[in-house]
């Protein structure tokens, strides 16, 4: 691979933009990089678009050549709203599974480096915090854990509009019922609101903050790996 191409791939990854590296595997074969925005006008358009959707690398035969497509989608990211007790357990677990974790909470007494060593913290309201991060996207999960609608709701609205691959919200069925009413009033569709995992987490009977963190993380991974699952949970 040309060093220039490698640099470009690394730049695109840092900016959370998807690219596909097309490599002719034959001896002396060429190599080129295609951005998602340019894929539509590429000779391999249909194949490339499908690959951007699936995120899967693989070989494709085209015009008698064997081409390897390295699909580089942005690394999965978890934005946690709420620097709460559950988040203290969730952040290191999520980092251990290679999720890029950011915690948002405007309550500066909660969002302290002492409580969250080694985790990216933004002690801001969600709208301000999200403006500082790379935009929410299909490769981002958002878990709203504050129990405070002033903080959770704006983050949920942004996550649903950005089609985040996972959107979860803490709270009982009753709390969620009221949330559905508010989000409907805010202009979100039934389908969009229906994507919220609530009550949050897989039903493993979790009790402690750490156990709830496990159930949330498992649910995030289940969404991320949807296509590999044997049966719906």
């Amino acid at each position: 691979m040309k060093l220039d191409l490698l640099r470009e791939m690394n730049r695109e990854r840092a900016a959370r933009r998807a690219v596909i590296l097309v490599t002719d595997t034959a001896e002396g074969g060429s190599q080129r990089l295609v951005r998602e925005a340019e894929a539509g006008s590429d000779p391999l358009a249909a194949e490339l678009m499908a690959r951007f959707r699936s995120g899967k690398s693989g070989i494709v035969e085209a015009e008698g050549r064997s081409l390897f497509l390295t699909v580089q989608v942005p690394p999965p990211r978890l934005v946690v709203v709420g620097a709460v007790h559950i988040s203290q357990a969730l952040a290191p677990m999520a980092q251990a599974t290679d999720l890029d974790v950011t915690i948002i909470d405007p309550r500066t007494a909660f969002a302290t480096p002492e409580r969250f060593p080694g985790v990216a913290l933004l002690p801001l309201w969600p709208d301000d915090a999200l403006a500082q991060l790379p935009p929410l996207d299909r490769y981002t999960a958002v878990a709203a854990l504050t129990h405070d609608l002033k903080i959770d709701d704006p983050a949920l609205v942004a996550a649903l509009r950005a089609e985040c691959f996972y959107v979860g919200a803490l709270g009982s069925r009753k709390t969620h019922g009221r949330r559905v009413e508010r989000l409907t009033a805010a202009g979100l569709s039934e389908e969009q609101i229906g994507r919220i995992a609530a009550p949050i987490g897989l039903d493993i009977g979790a009790v402690s903050p750490a156990e709830i963190a496990v159930s949330v993380l498992a649910q995030v991974i289940a969404s991320l790996r949807q296509d590999r699952r044997r049966a719906p949970a």
Partner: protein, 107 residues
């Protein structure tokens, strides 16, 4: 700490910037039960330092050895490993799968 694709490709760039010869190995095809998915990367420098993986550790040694030649002559090549391959007697995948690995210079 496990290395992610981000670390691996960023490290490949950093190694080149430090003037080291670097080869990039990528799993391009798998059959049966293979330990690492298609697209997985392993990078190797001219001294045999490496980061990432293309298998559960079964064939890394052979890939690293081949990478030295790739860095030396600058020619990419495709390697195949698996139980069906005669090299299975030396290196092979104990899980019974087969994989093809592209090893290319970063130049």
């Amino acid at each position: 700490m496990l290395s992610t694709d981000t670390d691996i490709l960023a490290t490949a760039e950093a190694w080149r910037d430090a003037g080291r010869g670097v080869a990039l190995a990528t799993v391009i095809e798998t059959w049966g039960s293979a330990p690492r998915p298609v697209g997985s990367h392993l990078i190797i420098d001219e001294e045999g330092n490496f980061l990432g993986s293309v298998s559960g550790g079964c064939v890394e040694g052979a890939v690293i050895a081949e990478a030295a030649d790739v860095i030396e002559d600058g020619r990419p090549r495709v390697l195949e490993f698996g139980v069906a391959d005669e090299t299975a007697w030396r290196v092979g995948l104990s899980c019974g799968g087969r994989i093809r690995v592209l090893v290319e210079p970063v130049a």
